[in-house]
């Protein structure tokens, strides 16, 4: 029974492996996926900040736990134990310290949240009723495309040449969203049937799509991401085929993006097709 205190080693493994696994995680490719959005780094920064903070608390409390278990084992500590019902001052300290920390985190992140969620408005030049040319800044930015979640795919609708959605010249596509690089863009996301969630891991974007509501998301693909494709995931259970709802976001240069739209338009309106022998679509 004198060996009973060795049980505390079991608990010691928790901080050791717990921290160890996080240290090894980047090598295992289990870290936040590459961030290609402009605002993503604030989220990553917050994540890492909280990780260090909680990590420190985690290690400290777990170690204290193990140390006390080890030290005050009944066999190695047969002497009368401390008899106390608590300490008022200690309680005050360990109430105020965490409270302050938590409040700090809370306030620290509000900006990042607002930046992500508040409506983007674009200044629009117009002539007012008094005939003075001015800038109106309360016009919501026009969306670059509308993405509609549907069991089990993402339907994408570009506004077409007239720049207005839901007209006859709209360009339609499925699961394959193209966006221009280095431009802050707005997407309207909708649902046709049930809840879906528009999740772009690499852009740190996630927004549930609620039938009956129009949601908007904003992000900006940073330079250097052009020419690459990123996963578009559905993150809200939408039925049996939830896992199938896979889309792709491709970041294009401005010229590639225009070419893509043109190609889409050409495909949509072409009136002849080359014979199949040469139509190897690869």
């Amino acid at each position: 029974m004198g060996k009973a205190k060795y049980w505390s080693i079991v608990y010691l493994m928790v901080p050791i492996f717990g921290v160890g696994l996080f240290v090894a995680a980047p090598a295992l490719r289990m870290w936040l996926p590459a961030d290609v959005s402009e605002h993503g780094h604030t989220i990553d920064h917050l994540f890492v900040f909280i990780m260090y903070l909680t990590g420190a608390v985690f290690v400290a409390t777990e170690c204290a736990l193990v140390w006390y278990l080890w030290k005050y084992d009944s066999k190695s500590n047969p002497a009368p134990t401390k008899f106390t019902h608590g300490s008022h001052s200690l309680e005050v300290v360990w109430t105020i310290l965490p409270a302050a920390t938590l409040l700090f985190i809370a306030i620290y992140q509000i900006n990042a949240w607002a930046d992500q969620k508040l409506v983007r408005r674009a200044p629009v030049e117009s002539v007012g009723p008094d005939g003075v040319r001015g800038t109106a800044d309360d016009v919501p930015k026009a969306p670059i495309a509308e993405v509609t979640g549907r069991q089990f795919e993402w339907r994408i609708r570009y506004p077409g040449p007239d720049g207005v959605l839901h007209t006859r010249d709209d360009l339609l596509d499925v699961n394959d969203l193209h966006i221009p690089v280095d431009e802050e863009l707005v997407l309207v996301i909708k649902s046709e049937d049930v809840l879906h969630s528009f999740f772009l891991p690499n852009f740190r974007v996630k927004q549930d799509v609620v039938p009956g509501m129009k949601q908007k998301v904003w992000f900006k693909a940073v330079k250097g991401s052009e020419g690459r494709s990123y996963d578009l995931v559905c993150a809200e259970l939408c039925g049996w085929g939830h896992y199938k709802m896979k889309g792709r976001v491709t970041v294009d240069t401005q010229s590639d993006y225009r070419a893509w739209l043109e190609k889409l338009s050409f495909e949509q309106h072409k009136t002849s097709e080359p014979p199949p022998a040469t139509a190897e679509e690869q």
């Binding site: 009973a4 049980w7 079991v10 608990y11 928790v14 492996f17 696994l21 996080f22 936040l32 996926p33 917050l46 994540f47 909280i50 909680t54 608390v57 985690f58 736990l65 006390y68 005050y72 084992d73 009944s74 134990t81 401390k82 008899f83 106390t84 019902h85 608590g86 300490s87 309680e91 965490p98 985190i105 992140q109 949240w113 069991q151 046709e192 049937d193 809840l195 969630s197 999740f199 891991p201 690499n202 740190r204 996630k206 549930d208 799509v209 609620v210 039938p211 009956g212 509501m213 990123y230 996963d231 995931v233 993150a235 809200e236 259970l237 039925g239 049996w240 939830h242 896992y243 896979k246």
Partner: protein
């Protein structure tokens, strides 16, 4: 020892009365005694056995999920050919959705909530406060028997097409309402809603009973601040249930109406799925989320507060030291309960709820971490300077603390709204609540079973095998759940039957296979527990009244207690945690021991109730 308390209080008439009760109990038929029993202990045990049975079901469902995540679309062992011959024995995607839906449903509604409140609440509350039974024994019996319709309803969901409800345990509309959106669920979703309603009725009956009993039936001298933490946990839980549950029950009925009678509380106008006719709708899917989380967030505390209480009792007992900061502990439990009512919105940060509202919920959520932190510090304070006995229940109790630290800290990530945008509905969340509910509550429950087993059955469980059970469970649970944090960091989403066709997640397969084998190990380990449990029930060494030398009132009753619990009227002289008190030579000072001559009991004088 506890036996010396006997006879000191030999109120002859009362004892005779009790004896009569006991004799009467013996004459009752088997059915009267064990099936339609109104004795809180029997009801508690009924709850215990039922919930442990469902625990097995829930565990097996979890293995099904893990199998699919480790070996997606490979033939399901054993059941594959029977259930999915049209698909070469691989599980169907709608079966996968049913698996995780029913795993969560079974674990939450049929295991954790009833095992805490139903099994331990019933068994312990009268014993720990010195009452001979619950305030309303018949109501108590009904609260168990209302679980049976729920068992049947949830059982029925497995028997309908698709083998279960498939809208997640949160049952978010429109998926759960528009039948054509999840046609594989069919009637199962309706059965599911009925089942939840019955569980609600059962919990409601229980919580009314617990509140009344705790307020009205305490033994003489048992003031509110002399109640053990377990009772505080149960008390606050009962209050939470009583105030939050009606909202869920009402919302459940609304959803039932939406489903059965085509009302439109939760369905948007014109929503259509699977080419069925568009819904007339006019409702709001978000409304359900608000109503649901208004109950289900407090429910998270319903699932942990009693466990915290039991852990406090076990740690104080095996550290042979008073609980550090008893009153702060009580206040923090109350604080958690109070704040628990205003944080439900943190489940909805990315749901489309107004982002400004999100800020308020974020602030409240941050603050709710505070009482939890205080509790952890106080447990550390209790262990500090104690005289620690590494018994099986103590190992589980300390495991609870150790694991709850992880579960609590990971909660802060979610409270931080911008971070939540990324980790919402990923495995980070799955890791978080498994750390709280399995590594936390389930550990506490296992510890509590080892701890109160002698009181329940009059015999001890095998300590050696108990430790083996603990060690393996502890290793495997961390192997299963800890890597989930890492998966969550990559963005690995929940509830995906085949996440590996996304480039971002394809490389996570080996880790998932590792986790699956840990989960299989974890479930297999519980066989040790089951054997130990049943063997000890019949052949374990006989336990006296107070085998752990604990202070609580329950330990002055016979093991197992007869009908009416106490063979004398217990009177409470002090708080429940007077371990190692200098006032006595022994290292514990039970609540029912009268003060030694010339010494004060250290608190207010006991007043007869």
């Amino acid at each position: 020892m506890s036996s010396h308390a006997l006879g000191d209080h030999g109120h002859a008439a009362h004892a005779h009365d009790l004896h009569d009760h006991a004799a009467h109990g013996h004459q009752m038929s088997f059915i009267g005694k064990y099936i339609f029993s109104r004795d809180h202990k029997i009801i508690g045990l009924q709850f215990l056995f039922s919930t442990l049975l469902w625990f097995i079901v829930g565990g097996l469902l979890a293995l099904g999920i893990r199998w699919q995540l480790a070996y997606p679309w490979s033939k399901l062992p054993i059941l594959g050919d029977m259930l999915f011959s049209g698909e070469a024995g691989q599980m169907s995607p709608e079966f996968y959705t049913a698996l995780f839906t029913m795993h969560a449903t079974v674990m939450i509604f049929l295991v954790i909530i009833p095992i805490l409140a139903g099994a331990f609440g019933n068994f312990l509350i009268p014993l720990m406060i010195g009452a001979d039974d619950m305030a309303f024994p018949t109501l108590n019996m009904l609260s168990y028997w209302f679980m049976w319709p729920a068992f049947v309803c949830f059982g029925m969901t497995f028997l309908t097409a698709g083998h279960g409800a498939g809208s997640g345990w949160t049952s978010y509309p429109p998926l759960s309402v528009i039948e054509s959106a999840a046609p594989a669920s069919g009637m199962a979703q309706t059965w599911w809603l009925l089942g939840v309603t019955f569980v609600g009725v059962s919990s409601m009956l229980g919580s009314v009973n617990y509140m009344t009993t705790i307020i009205q039936m305490r033994a003489p001298g048992m003031t509110m601040f002399r109640m053990p933490m377990t009772i505080w946990g149960m008390f606050i839980t009962a209050i939470l249930q009583a105030f939050a549950l009606p909202v869920l029950t009402a919302a459940g009925f609304m959803q039932l109406l939406d489903r059965v009678w085509d009302t439109g509380f939760f369905v948007a106008e014109g929503a259509t799925a699977n080419n069925a006719a568009a819904m007339s709708g006019g409702g709001q899917p978000l409304l359900w989320q608000h109503l649901f989380w208004f109950y289900s967030h407090p429910a998270v505390y319903i699932m942990i507060l009693p466990a915290m209480g039991m852990v406090s009792d076990m740690i104080a007992c095996f550290a042979r030291k008073p609980l550090f900061g008893y009153k702060p502990m009580v206040y923090s439990i109350s604080g958690i309960a109070g704040l628990g009512f205003i944080v439900w919105g943190h489940h909805m940060f990315v749901s489309g709820m107004n982002p400004v509202l999100g800020v308020t919920f974020m602030l409240a959520t941050m603050m709710i971490a505070l009482p939890s932190a205080i509790k952890v510090f106080n447990w550390l304070g209790t262990i500090w300077g104690g005289k620690i006995h590494f018994t099986t229940p103590m190992l589980f109790a300390v495991a609870f603390v150790s694991m709850f630290i992880i579960g609590g800290l990971s909660g802060i990530y979610m409270a931080a709204t911008p971070v939540d945008i990324f980790i919402h509905d990923t495995y980070f969340i799955v890791a978080h609540f498994h750390y709280v509910l399995f590594s936390g509550t389930a550990m506490a429950v296992m510890g509590a079973i080892y701890f109160w087993f002698p009181k329940m059955f009059g015999r001890m469980m095998h300590d050696g095998w108990g430790k083996v059970h603990f060690l393996l469970t502890f290793i495997f649970l961390n192997g299963t759940f800890y890597p989930m944090h890492l998966l969550g960091m990559v963005g690995f989403p929940r509830r995906l039957a085949d996440p590996y066709h996304y480039e971002t997640f394809a490389h996570l397969l080996p880790m998932n296979q590792f986790m699956t084998w840990c989960a299989i190990g974890m479930v297999a380990t519980q066989i040790i527990f089951a054997i130990n449990f049943f063997y000890s029930m019949f052949y374990g060494p006989k336990a006296g009244r107070n085998p752990w030398h604990a202070n609580g009132l329950e330990w002055c009753a016979p093991s197992p207690p007869g009908h009416g619990n106490f063979d004398f009227q217990p009177i409470v002289y002090r708080g429940p945690y007077e371990y190692g008190s200098p006032e006595t030579d022994e290292d514990y000072y039970p609540q029912w021991h009268p003060p030694k001559q010339g010494e004060s009991s250290g608190g207010e004088e006991p007043k007869p109730h």
